[in-house]
Amino acid sequence: MGAIFTYFKNILTGFWNLLLGLSVTTKYLFKKTNTQQYPEEKMPLPARSRSMIKLIYDGEKDQFNCVACMMCAKACPNSCIKLEGVRGPDGKRRMTTFKLDFSTCIFCGYCVEACGFDALTFVSEEYENSVYKRGSLLQDEQAMKWNRPAHLAPKPEEPAKVEAAPAGAKA
């Protein structure tokens, strides 16, 4: 008799628990959905987002901030940065070519942290990184040129951190 009782009890509790599960899904049937329709609705990324690496271009001086100190290339774990520089007429080194291979870049952020001259930065506004040809991922200084808007520039009283940090030691 006890066995028969448990048999029916099991069926009833099972049935109840099935209903409990159904109640959860049915509840969500009438709730607001969670989807963002990506190409139409674009979410602003957080300011710290590591989405695209850009070379800061100084519009006033008409030159890049980069002085080709090679710290970023040394910090890169995948050696995807290649750059060259020359000593200009004013005695300061200037970057001439800068190539970043985004097909091997892993967006670890070491290059930006290693940069002591406020020349490399992550830009959270641009995150459409997909391209049609693999070759387009090898970007040079013109493709990475970014004229920083004034409101994002470091404030004059707190100058950009000049810190010749080695690979991994953070800025």
Binding site: A73, K74, C76, P77, N78, S79
Partner: protein, 157 residues
């Protein structure tokens, strides 16, 4: 049992089975075992209640081409006593052979296969010694220090 006590206890208990036991700079007990006593020591470490190393946490190898040896390293842990021990076994680099600890800890099965795959150490008595990561027909041992394979390794600047 603190690591110092563990070290002195091993020193006295297994005098004839080990070559050396040291406390590393990081306060870990490292035992280098005599090749012929490797299995016996491992079995004792597992079964004797004072040690109770039920858990083979990790088994790997390190290649030392300059000293012409490959060191098989076992990291043991006891869930009950909460202490850790490292057992090292040096094998000849030209003809690397080591006895298997698979009968003692089943977990060693795949660890030893991995060491065989990547270092070429042959574990004698292992029930299923095949390559595990690399393709079956691959001839080299990638984690050895003299491994070269163009196109495989991109060295950073």
């Amino acid at each position: 049992m603190t690591n110092e006590e563990l070290k002195s206890k091993i020193e006295s208990d297994f005098k004839d089975k080990i070559l050396s036991v040291v406390l590393s700079g990081q306060k870990e007990v490292l035992v280098t075992v005599k090749p012929e006593a490797y299995i016996a020591l491992c079995r004792d470490l597992k079964t004797k209640p004072d040690y109770d190393f039920q858990h083979l946490s990790c088994l790997t190898a390190v290649d030392y081409p300059k000293e012409n040896k490959i060191t098989v390293v076992c990291h043991l842990w006891s869930y009950k006593k909460c202490h850790q021990l490292t057992v090292k076994l040096d094998v000849d680099r030209a003809n690397p052979k080591a006895p298997t600890v698979e009968p003692i800890w089943k977990a060693a099965n795949w660890f030893e296969r991995e060491v065989f795959d990547l270092y070429g150490v042959v574990f004698e008595g292992h029930p299923d010694l095949r390559r595990i990561m690399m393709p079956e027909d691959y001839a080299k041992f990638p984690l050895r220090k003299d491994f070269t394979d163009d196109g495989f390794i991109i060295k950073p600047n």
